[in-house]
Symmetry: D2
Subunit: 360 residues, 4 copies
Amino acid sequence: MSANTFGHLFRFTTFGESHGSAIGCVVDGTPPGIPLTEADIQVHMDKRRPGQSKYTTQRKEPDTVKILSGVFEGVTTGAPIGLLVENQDTRSKDYDEIKDRFRPGHADFTYARKYGVRDYRGGGRSSARETAMRVAAGAIARKVLENILGEDVSIRGALVKIGDTAINRNNWDWAEVDNNPFFSPDADSVPAFEAILDKVRKDGSSIGAVVEVIASGIPAGLGAPIYAKLDADLAGALMGIPAVKGVEIGAGFDAAMLSGEENADEMRMDGDDVTFLSNNAGGILGGISTGQDIVASFAVKPTSSILKPKRSVDATGHDVEVSTKGRHDPCVGIRAVPIGEAMVACVLADHLLRHRAQCG
Amino acid sequence: MSANTFGHLFRFTTFGESHGSAIGCVVDGTPPGIPLTEADIQVHMDKRRPGQSKYTTQRKEPDTVKILSGVFEGVTTGAPIGLLVENQDTRSKDYDEIKDRFRPGHADFTYARKYGVRDYRGGGRSSARETAMRVAAGAIARKVLENILGEDVSIRGALVKIGDTAINRNNWDWAEVDNNPFFSPDADSVPAFEAILDKVRKDGSSIGAVVEVIASGIPAGLGAPIYAKLDADLAGALMGIPAVKGVEIGAGFDAAMLSGEENADEMRMDGDDVTFLSNNAGGILGGISTGQDIVASFAVKPTSSILKPKRSVDATGHDVEVSTKGRHDPCVGIRAVPIGEAMVACVLADHLLRHRAQCG
Amino acid sequence: MSANTFGHLFRFTTFGESHGSAIGCVVDGTPPGIPLTEADIQVHMDKRRPGQSKYTTQRKEPDTVKILSGVFEGVTTGAPIGLLVENQDTRSKDYDEIKDRFRPGHADFTYARKYGVRDYRGGGRSSARETAMRVAAGAIARKVLENILGEDVSIRGALVKIGDTAINRNNWDWAEVDNNPFFSPDADSVPAFEAILDKVRKDGSSIGAVVEVIASGIPAGLGAPIYAKLDADLAGALMGIPAVKGVEIGAGFDAAMLSGEENADEMRMDGDDVTFLSNNAGGILGGISTGQDIVASFAVKPTSSILKPKRSVDATGHDVEVSTKGRHDPCVGIRAVPIGEAMVACVLADHLLRHRAQCG
Amino acid sequence: MSANTFGHLFRFTTFGESHGSAIGCVVDGTPPGIPLTEADIQVHMDKRRPGQSKYTTQRKEPDTVKILSGVFEGVTTGAPIGLLVENQDTRSKDYDEIKDRFRPGHADFTYARKYGVRDYRGGGRSSARETAMRVAAGAIARKVLENILGEDVSIRGALVKIGDTAINRNNWDWAEVDNNPFFSPDADSVPAFEAILDKVRKDGSSIGAVVEVIASGIPAGLGAPIYAKLDADLAGALMGIPAVKGVEIGAGFDAAMLSGEENADEMRMDGDDVTFLSNNAGGILGGISTGQDIVASFAVKPTSSILKPKRSVDATGHDVEVSTKGRHDPCVGIRAVPIGEAMVACVLADHLLRHRAQCG
């Protein structure tokens, strides 16, 4: 219900603005007795952290996360986990110029219309800086999943397309994802991605991307039809990441072009286990996990904050031109990879607890 | 939270199985004083109703909706509105054969894994028959929107693609949508769609489709960031329709291929009003409506229930072949049009009430 | 959130007015595989049913409950359980006289102020007739508790006071509760209660009462601090019963008069079990069950609908006198006994599922 | 749903333990444009703050609240308001002795049973220290109420009874409440209360109390029947305050002893306004406010942490004696006054926003 809370049984509530003193969140519903340290969270924060390559924003934020509550002697107690990250490198005066001007494609205009007042510094509450707390919550969600389901659970994301350049899926190697600044699973794609980003930066422009997240080791049975379907919740979670404009589960829009016999994933027994001969469903049927890999992908639009001047209006009703000078990611899709992973982890942890509630 | 409740302030809860005695829902949160009759709901029910053309299932259901509460002397009272539709044409013995066999691509397997027991007749709770109640709730949502925002609000859907055959968008004419059995806005597309469907039926197969829903007359300011964004809620609502595998807002996946200057919708003053020079955003920025048309589309996979035999397994762990003999839609995407409209209406009504709560 | 939904994981949503065609509810979250028949519910409905003695309303309602969904071949499926009770003996013209007059002590005035319109027939939505569905939901909640915790769980209520006449607690005998029309556990109290009620009826008046509900066999650990404490949820559930004005847990207001050493329930080991030497806490500490009996009591005000004329105002702003001629309970506290039991059962079932979610 | 979140549209989520580094909360749903400073909150924090008289705990906590987000240039923005209070005077070693011993009447035993692990220092999450954040949230709730309803709204609490000594209601003077360390509205009661507390402290004991909260200036129409009744929500909110065992609205348990004609509050026109000739209802009928003062009272049990030794058990299953040596309030009912006010304010703010949503 709350605009700033995600999830139901495993849930988190975030607060904070881009240029405020701190951002934070409260993670609630975590089962007791799970080992958890700040380092467990920090490793994921560091993936999303800005300023790590020339292809992301140059804002320097250590994004050091502090656990304020809910963990005692190294394990969760079942009490809410308060997390805090102090903002360090805020250059609010970069934004004076756009105080009264609405950047096209940005939330400036809609926040002004909705609320009347807004913290314009760095986008205020609408800034993607808030997503740091999603990554933190996602790290705890992973711990919950691993604690209950075992260490075989993995939730991994990768960048599969920048602009119109896609990776070669035959080269997919998870080990490569952390070896390049794009989270690409295809080593061969890296030079092309570098070339695109170099050009985009030089042009003062930006570019869109597609991210794919795969969750393995998730048992059959998670998901709660009719209105808390696993795929519906994933779609909502991923579409809610800043700049996302499309979400697919499994074959996605391609499924619309298939016949019934092409699309349906056939099943066979493999000893006592059921195996599927394909995964067009992306691991979800009727809103419930099948036990296959859960596969979701999402489209990230290009950053709206660009140097190139664009026509817009200001708060007093005059036509203006807007050129954004702050420090921005030329391709927000890159840093969306750890965010996408985190949101998938949170949805799965939430559904795992729901499943325990109803089905024991 | 509840698996069978949709929405927050404008919300509905459904119950009922495909072959039970009745399906129904409770619509809650409706403002008082809104004129409402059964006919207001029935007109939308009739669009989704089965058996209306040879391109949908031949099950005969009048789908007559009855208002049991919440309306007094022709207007809503603010009390919950109970709605009931009796099932008439249930031929449960069609399903005896698949009682213990999991139809590939269907929820049979996942319901069995999750719940242990299931009403297999006609898919039970997982049947798309439940969507009749979404259409009913959507009809009330429209009344709420019109009552508060005025008669200019419209929420309309259309089928824009079957298999790999798309309509010609230049021919788009809303008046055509109700003139053909496909809800196509392009009269010229009808012969091609007929040919595809005729072939699919003859083959005992099925085919996927893409549906687009457009909401006009929605003011700027609806939507509640960060975790109740309008686009995120639309994505969840549409992905939750049976057989949907992908959702796009505005330019959707195409946005991932654009540069920042191509994608950002520029603004100009038009007298005292702000106008946008394009609508790649699909009417939503930062999770909040811009005042432009809200544009959402979704991909519907082909019906999993097909005559063609497919490999599967049964409840006792044996390999089997499954061929579904019941009466099924060869293209569930067609009847998804009024369902998509209904879900968009419900999301918007919910957000309208939320907006009134916080912003007056 | 919803005004017409109670509970979270085990939850129900009701609809219907006193003189509408039917009342009903949807029970959601029930675990699958629990044996359930209409008779399991009817036995509890019959306790609350009107017209059973001269001490309750003479309205004749069989209150026959029908299960519309969620049960297949005698067991719950995990799908929502739709329940319907048709209204039979509605004499709406009894109410024409109070159509525009606000009965003192009744919700007439506040509904008119809140909603502008209201179904005045028999109190419409504010009628205690709605509580029939709480009893139905409570019957299912009992099944959930028994299924998970075992047959030793019992949730029993009793009338302990009418006006200023209390039972003698030394005579408490659960077996007596169903042997008299007052649900009194003290057989010796019956003549006094009869005398009070006879006088009240003769006077065209009404009288208040106190009800106590005791849940036995509930293990330690249920309850979710800080804002979903078991006692807080019980207090909300019981205060929400029509006409209730006070709620106590354990020693209740008497605890305010005790010293710390008098109030604290001491503990001793009894073999491997912990036993408490008293139960001032009413079985709840820190919002979590201790394993002792859970004890809650609530005060029910006298029926506001009385024959004796009272000063009031009408909808057009004039002073009037109101005398209510319909068929009313002279002591609504009596029929509040099965309702109180039902609400306690629902709260406990909800918390049991919550506990499973977080603590396994 | 969340155990650590209170409210629906106006809601807050708290975190933190008694002896952790900080406690905090996130207040969500606040309308934009409301002037708010840290001083607005601090004035209420200071009322609840420990160590202010010899009749409350001697723990020294400045309880300085810091606003981390949601306020920009002195007004709320509609974004979540993050609040933080650092813990200063934590003497955790006071608690080593009770690390494995369950204090009778305290949540030690139930937390251990529910969660398996617990932060025993100062009661950890179960400590009343958490209520500091309720007071902070309540201060913001007051601002919301005043901003929408006007300055005439007031929510005031008073201590009306300690042990078996009650105030004289004829002496009630709100101006006296802040003139004595008991929040008593009756100046004449102060010497008696001092005598009781002095004796209790000397004895190493504690004593219970009754608190009354009155909200004035609340219009008719707030409250959402059937399951979000204003009185039910108040009952839940007040019963959820640590150590509370009973809640009454208006005449409360006394209403159970009245006849219908004694209890029903008669109405008369006073010009265009409706006036009530009494207020047994405590300002609420059918779960909806009448426009009269809203009157709620609650019973607070004596502090469980006392010096006097009591029989108990330890975590390893042995009989022990427990004497609590920490710094504790001899009468927690005193500091419950500002907490009760805060909870009433939060419930009313929540219902005000709900009412705007449904009824405009």
